[in-house]
Amino acid sequence: MIRVDDLSVSLGDTPVLDDVSMAVDDGELVGLVGANGAGKTTLLRVLSGVLAPDSGVVTVGGDAVGSLGARERSRRIAVVPQDTTLNFDFSVRDVVAMGRTPHRGRFERASSEDADAVESAMERTTVTEFADTSIRAVSGGERQRVVLARALAQEAPVLLLDEPTASLDVNHQIRTLDLVADLVAEGRTAVAAIHDLSLAARYCDRLVVLADGDVVASGPPERVLDRSTVGDAFDADAAVVADPITGTPAVTPLSSPNRPLDATVHVVGTGSDAGSAIATLAAAGATVTAGPVPAGDAAATAATGVDAAVVTVPPFEDVPVHARGHVREHVASADVTVLAGTVHDRALTVLPDETAVVATDTAVFHGDGERAESIETIESVALADADDHATAPDASDGEPRNASSWFDERAVQLSTLAQRTDGLMEDVTDAVSDGVTDDD
């Protein structure tokens, strides 16, 4: 439907698009993603024909856009611009009806077909309830839906949308993109610039990633959106995980750490606190490994999202022998092992002796309290160099102990130990706790 060949555009003396080529098939929803200033809006303006390229050709339905008259072009392409000046007292219905301009001759009156198109466009965008309100009296989000309704009333086979969800609340973001997806399912072709990568991945058949006026990646969202592409295109570190609900890639940008961390860190623990610790360490530049983590746990997802090696195990079972081996290898090659999130005593049994351990303040011990030997292991490992003022729990007296409170007590002591050891430990502790605090 749309073909772009060797497109170059300069605005003033600034080159904005440099030799861009892409194609959009009939009935496809293509998302344009990229950092601010990457050229998304410019590309859409060239596609719609309002901006003439310096070189290159855009064809829509086989004809060069530049060679079509405004009227013919607007029958083929409807545009939902990012911002529309609507500073006058037209009613919402009047504005939507302006979408019928290309279908009416200068001396023609509005036909019933025009009226039907306007009403159905307003219904689909749920603006009917304020159809008779002045366009100046509606909110920004409502206004954006009115402009979408105007484009629908245009009944063009191609829809170009520039940030259609930018000023919408979550509900209307989803409803708007659902609507666009429906329109595409009905046979229209759409190209949308979308800032929210997760939304773009969820709705688009294909993503085109623009960076510095060039297409740097193009293809299905699952293939295009990975940590390195996102990192290159946006100059930002981000975790890319499969959204547990939609199954499509979800991109979570990571706050950049205060201090870079050049170390290998192994993380033990489960849940989102552990996941957060993994992502934060990775964002700080550490080589992160994790495990044992039950498959499907948030920590496992986070580790995959930041390309960290993770040892997953079946949930609710003892750690299998081969997994123990993997974890021990990771621990052995790590500069430090960090406990974060919910730490099950089953996981602690895996750690070899002499492991240097840092417990973050999110670390919570979990278990039945009967696995005394694993606790002893930790105690002997972690407190090896510490002053022997902690009273080790008596494993042999047979009394059920409150394992959690024991762990809390130890955690404090383990942190103290970390502070007394080398600077690396400090870095880890700071990086982890900073990250956790920031995320709150």
Binding site: V50, A70, P81, T84, D89, F90, P102, R106
Partner: protein, 364 residues
Amino acid sequence: MRPGVRATTYSAVLAIGLLATVAGAATVGPESISYLVVAKALLNATPVPVGVSIEGGLGLVLAHPFAFEVPQTSELIVVRLRAPRIVLAAVVGFALAAAGTVMQGFFRNPMADPSIVGVSSGAALGAVAAITAPSAIAVVTGLLGVPAVVGVQTAAFVGAIVAAFLVYAIATEGGRTPVATLLLAGVAVQTFLGAIVSFLIIHSGDSIRRAMYWLMGDLNNASWGDVSVAAPVVLVLFAVLLPFARDLNVLLLGEEDAQTLGIEVERTKRLLLAIGSVVTAAAVAVAGIIGFVGLVVPHVVRLVVGPDHRVLLPTSALAGGIFLVASDTLARWTAATLPVGVVTAAVGAPFFLFLLRRREVHEL
């Protein structure tokens, strides 16, 4: 209500209002003449087209079907003395308000008025030069090889068109005419031409009074001749303008949006600008510079009928006619020699400020 129906209803009401105002204005003067007599005299003088003649070029065959009994002096006063001035006021007010509506929509700027692209200052230069320095005009016409005798009106009209074209040419680059550039070029050209006009006036000697009257907008010397020149130009161009009302609406969305909605923006802008300028030039040439009508009337009418140009354009034009006839009647009534431009400004400006303070007029 559909815009077409609204436009027709409002326009019909205003057209009746305009006729009533014209007739009412004709009763006012040193000799008071009754409404009935005025109506009869005006009807007697109204030509009605009854056919088309092809002898000696295409032309309309006009007839005067009414023959009411009216005292001869009254008929003479109404038809020969008062009516030309009143009808000319109606035509000029109609033209200025229509052009003002187009310019405000076109520029998406509430400050826009018909003279914004330099039409009025061009006309002023032409007219003032013809009044104060006819010999200079003769030199120019001699160089161009056209008849040496150029009337004030012709000079004003030519000056207006040349100035508008100059502004347009300055603001156009590569086939595109950005509205903001046009606006600024208009202001600069107006200032420059204003300087020349001031210079001419300082050195005008005895003709200063005539020049000042022209600059303030004056209908004292109106004749049926003026009406027969201005009215056809204004009405024909207005008829061309009306079908573009919808384009003006869409242009309010911004030029890029308008383009994606199928409007050939640059072509439409050129056409609107040309028609708006010629309509204004025709009005200014016969009446001088009458301020405020083109600025205030569209704002006030917009308050009542809304921003839809399909309704706004005809109603605003008719209301402009009513306003100028009423203002000119006031000018005639207060002092025989008061220029009408003084009245429109003196009445219009405070009224506009009142609306502004009430926050009724702020944007388009």
